[in-house]
């Protein structure tokens, strides 16, 4: 698809502002009513999805030119998809998030680049990671001493993909260690790519570098295929989204699971039992790329047609991605299975979840927006009375840890894998 393919979306946006809020049916308070961090922080209409569609249409029409302001408008967005879910509550012909992806891709094609993104992409090209300053040689160090199969030399049914954040973030790599150890001990035939593991490419796709994404997707699928891998498991929600939603579009048939799905499966099969009590009250943060964007890819090839004069429909029926089929229940089932643990919910959950602030390249390029967004989420978590925030994405976890360290809030932050590890 190209930006021009979404011209109809731009022309048919009604500026209703639903893209700025949580779904109205689920709204519980004034304090936590906002849905879009970008306009929540910046306030001008152009920082909403509807505003960006107007900007995109103006660019296509040639009625505005590229400016630093346009770059800010396009990139000050976590691509969290809250707008997409809210828009689709009343529309079947709109794809705001897909349009925003194409808008970013167009900016990259036209050489409208942010310096920080260029730096990160250069690092990606050299070192196969989106973490600035990290080198390929250190990628597999997190797994040293774990005695896990090396998929560059051996075959295994399941590949564990640690991802860039867990591979290089020394404070968080314990999550990856715990996951592979648990799965191995549960009898899963699992291996890793070690230092040969590459970035998933998902973040590159999100900031508009589709070419880089394709390169990494192709390489990863080839490596898994060579290793006989049938299933890829990851603890990274960004990676999960890339593997689950983007890779199949390129023909990948390998099963993709987030660790929460595999843990839930092991619990159901009786291969994993929680024996220890954890007397804690926790709240769960739905990562955007595991929740509303974690819906499985459904192939579709068809056309738009008009019926009843001007009504717009699709032939054949077009799959609908409105957040309903994201991964919401698995983490909650796990947490509710832990003896002594009490899960209390925030106001904005599941398809309505507020973003942690890290996505879409914002963590690297707009630290103030990132910080404001995560602080909002931490405040919402604190309002539940929970002692800890549990999540299922290392990007969210890192952002929460950093925000809480800078605040007077005393909450703990856990990846769900850490809770599981404590409970067995």
């Amino acid at each position: 698809m190209a930006l021009e393919d979404y011209r109809g979306n731009m022309q048919r946006c009604t500026r209703c502002s639903y893209c700025k809020w949580v779904l109205w049916d689920h709204l519980k308070s004034w304090r936590f009513a906002k849905g879009c961090p970008s306009i929540g922080y910046n306030n001008f209409q152009s920082y909403s999805a509807g505003g960006r569609l107007a900007v995109a249409l103006s660019l296509l029409d040639g009625t505005i030119n590229y400016t630093d302001g346009v770059l800010d408008i396009v990139y000050q967005c976590q691509m969290c998809g809250a707008c997409d879910v809210a828009c689709k509550i009343c529309r079947y012909d709109m794809e705001p998030l897909a349009t925003l992806h194409e808008l970013r891709a167009r900016l990259v094609e036209d050489g409208q680049l942010l310096p920080m993104h260029m730096f990160i992409i250069d690092n990606l090209k050299k070192e196969d990671t989106m973490i600035a300053g990290k080198v390929k040689a250190d990628r597999g160090k997190w797994a040293e001493g774990l005695n896990i199969k090396d998929l560059t030399k051996e075959k295994a049914e399941v590949a564990f993909h640690a991802g860039c954040r867990l591979s290089y973030d020394e404070e968080l790599s314990k999550v990856a260690k715990a996951a592979v150890t648990l799965f191995k001990n549960a009898g899963v035939d699992i291996g890793i790519m070690g230092k040969e593991e590459n970035c998933c490419g998902g973040r590159a796709y999100e900031i508009g570098y589709k070419g880089e994404f394709s390169k990494y997707a192709t390489n990863n699928v080839e490596a898994w295929t060579n290793a006989g891998v049938k299933t890829v498991v990851t603890s990274c929600s960004d990676g999960y989204w890339a593997f689950k939603r983007l890779y199949p579009e390129m023909g990948c048939k390998i099963e993709v699971l987030h660790t929460v799905e595999l843990i839930e499966r092991l619990i159901k099969e009786g291969k994993l039992k929680f024996t220890k009590t954890i007397p804690k009250v926790v709240t769960y943060h739905d990562p955007c790329h595991l929740g509303r964007q974690g819906e499985p890819y459904i192939p579709w090839k068809g056309v738009e047609k008009r019926i009843y004069g001007q009504m717009l429909v699709h032939e054949p029926k077009k799959p609908r991605f409105n957040g309903v089929n994201g991964i919401y229940d698995s983490p909650r089932t796990i947490l509710n299975s832990v003896p002594g643990l009490e899960l209390v919910e925030m106001e904005r959950i599941r398809e309505n979840a507020w973003c942690c602030g890290a996505g879409g390249g914002v963590i690297d390029t707009y630290p103030e927006l990132c910080s404001w967004t995560v602080t909002e989420r931490v405040e919402e978590a604190r309002a539940t009375g929970a002692e800890a925030i549990v999540t299922a994405c290392p990007w969210c976890e890192r952002n929460f840890i950093d925000a809480i360290e800078k605040s007077d809030i005393k909450m703990k932050v856990y990846d769900i894998m850490e809770v599981v590890q404590q409970a067995i």
Binding site: C16, G51, Q310, L312
Partner: protein, 563 residues
């Protein structure tokens, strides 16, 4: 050559010239709101020029209209006042909006600035005992309702839904909503108001004007509700309303809605003192009789002829589709081939959804009995399909939260309202038949969505909570298809002529037609309307309150009174 083509002749390159403010003026405005809250970035100005409905009107005939010279985000009454005074001083026009939904929100003349009030979004107080809330302009209907419910109260949700401002709805734009029958019109629930007048002075109205609190709109103190808004409101063209107290009504439900189900049709279950029905009647006459009787019996919490906004022929199947998460619009055509759904569509020929809410068990039983008696007397009945548990729970939430208003655009992204003259039920059903015939004629061309000629909706209540109402005829079209847009314009113009021929007062058609003609053309048009006296009054009010002509007046229609 049609009117639409005439104003679409400009080439793209001639359009969208940014009118830059003099640097001195920009600096003055920036000093007021701070650099983070003012912009003249062309991309942002373009976003503010974009709105639904602009494609129907001059000068550009697409979703973009005139760009403001700058956009400001004031954060307080003091900042608003300073901006308005600066505009008076420097002869800059200003136009405020809250959520800015619809083409009336944007500026219509060049050299105008836009005030986006979204930073003024607080609910300052909910006075539980005296049953009112003090709000800023950008407090949304949905947020106010959620907070009010926590203390057993509810607000009159604007007809445009949870995503718009009750303050703006009350002070500046229409004012009725689905619960108006019980809650009263939003112009009536306005109590004390803080108003930055067009000359920059602050006036406090009602009891607030006497310094005794927000509790009364009429006084002691100046009671100016009629002057500030007249019938439909000045639509942002008469100063800026920065705070208002809004009367709240009892909410006999839980303090928080417990919502479940899957999108788009979430569910809510409420206690036994709530009932949700879709009634249906054999004809317009029976419908009007039932409306009269519902007023007279003083039953009902929310009552609104909502479903047919999506057209008599398609709406029943649409809402069955919509309430099933596995279905999409792509399924609609196939669903309509089902004989069972065809029978259902027939049954829903004249629907009227109603929510009953009893303050006590006896109250709900009384209301139920009265409703049954009204149905027996008018030949109406409750539609059984709409009372199936999943649909009932969805429709109940739909009517209480009013969070699906953008369904107006679900077919193709374009909607315009027409007709909508106010009057008794007997008067309404008189023009309904003309409206149905006219829309059917244009739908037959295939350039509008063929949803059925009866696409009329509206709450069966207006001023006083009942006794009058209006039927807004919905027209669905594709804004990206120029032929479809042209057909809408021609339909509106014909409807306006027909209304005049029948002696009906001005409705939505006239207002739309005025905007087709632009500011200059509208003068002659207004002078020739049979009810032009009100536009003469608007001229007097405007010239008295805004001597420097600082307010942007793109949609404030007025005619200079004849000597």
């Amino acid at each position: 050559m049609t009117l639409w083509r005439l104003f679409n002749r400009q080439s793209k390159k001639e359009r969208y010239i940014n009118m830059t403010l003099p640097r001195e003026v920009y600096q003055v405005l920036e000093d007021i709101v701070g650099p983070r809250n003012i912009t003249e970035e062309p991309a942002t100005l373009a976003a503010y020029a974009f709105n639904f409905g602009n494609e129907l009107y001059p000068p550009y005939a697409n979703r973009f209209s005139i760009r403001p010279s700058a956009v400001l985000l004031p954060g307080s009454t003091e900042e608003v006042q300073a901006i308005v005074k600066a505009c008076n001083r420097y002869k800059i026009k200003y136009k405020p909006f809250t959520t800015g939904w619809g083409s009336i929100a944007g500026v219509r003349t060049e050299n105008s600035i836009q005030l986006d009030l979204r930073r003024m979004d607080r609910i300052l107080e909910i006075d539980e005992k005296n049953m009112f809330a003090i709000v800023e302009p950008y407090a949304m209907g949905g947020t106010l309702q959620a907070e009010a419910m926590k203390v057993g109260l509810n607000c009159n949700m604007p007809g445009a839904g949870a995503a718009v401002s009750p303050l703006a709805n009350g002070t500046s734009q229409w004012g009725h909503g689905p619960p108006t029958l019980y809650f009263g019109h939003n112009s009536e629930v306005l109590l004390g108001i803080e108003w930055v007048m067009p000359n920059g002075e602050i006036l406090k109205t009602g009891s607030l004007g006497s310094g005794v609190g927000w509790f009364c709109g009429e006084g002691p103190g100046p009671s100016l509700r009629a002057l500030i808004r007249g019938d439909i409101g000045a639509q942002g063209n008469l100063g800026v309303f920065t705070k208002a107290a809004l009367k709240l009504s009892p909410w006999p439900g839980p303090t928080q809605l417990k919502v479940d189900g899957k999108p788009p049709a979430y569910h809510v279950s409420l206690p036994e003192n709530f009932r949700m029905y879709t009634l249906t009647f054999p004809n317009w006459r029976a419908f009007a009789d039932a409306a009269h009787k519902i007023y007279d019996a003083e039953i009902g919490y929310i009552c609104h002829r909502q479903w047919h906004k999506l057209g008599k022929d398609l709406a029943p199947a649409f809402f069955l589709m919509y309430s099933n998460p596995t279905k999409t619009l792509d399924d609609l055509e196939e669903m309509l081939k089902d004989p069972e759904i065809q029978r259902f569509t027939q049954e829903m020929g004249m629907p009227l959804p109603i929510v009953l809410a009893g303050q006590t068990p006896n109250d709900i039983e009384y209301q139920e009995k009265v409703l049954n008696q009204i149905l027996a007397e008018t030949g109406g009945h409750k539609v059984a399909k709409m009372s199936e548990p999943d649909i009932e729970k969805f429709t109940l939430l739909y009517f209480i939260r009013w969070g699906h208003k953008n369904l107006n655009f679900v077919y193709a992204g374009g909607y315009v309202g027409s007709w909508h003259q106010y009057g008794t039920p007997d008067f309404n059903v008189k023009y309904a038949q003309v409206a149905e015939k006219t829309l059917s004629k244009y739908q037959a061309t295939g350039l509008l969505v063929q949803a059925g000629g009866d696409a009329m909706m509206g709450p069966i209540a207006r001023t006083g909570g009942g006794g009058t109402f209006s039927l807004e005829q919905f027209t669905a079209y594709d804004p990206a298809n120029k032929e479809s847009v042209e057909a809408v314009v021609n339909y509106i113009l014909e409807s306006a002529e027909l209304a005049k021929d029948h002696g009906f007062p001005s409705g939505f058609d006239e207002m739309a037609a005025l905007r087709f003609k632009g500011t200059v053309g509208s003068q002659a048009y207004l002078e020739n309307l049979p009810d032009n006296q009100r536009f003469q009054w608007q001229w007097k009010i405007r010239h008295m309150l805004d001597p420097n002509d600082a307010g942007e007046v793109g949609t404030y229609w007025m005619v200079k009174p004849k000597e």
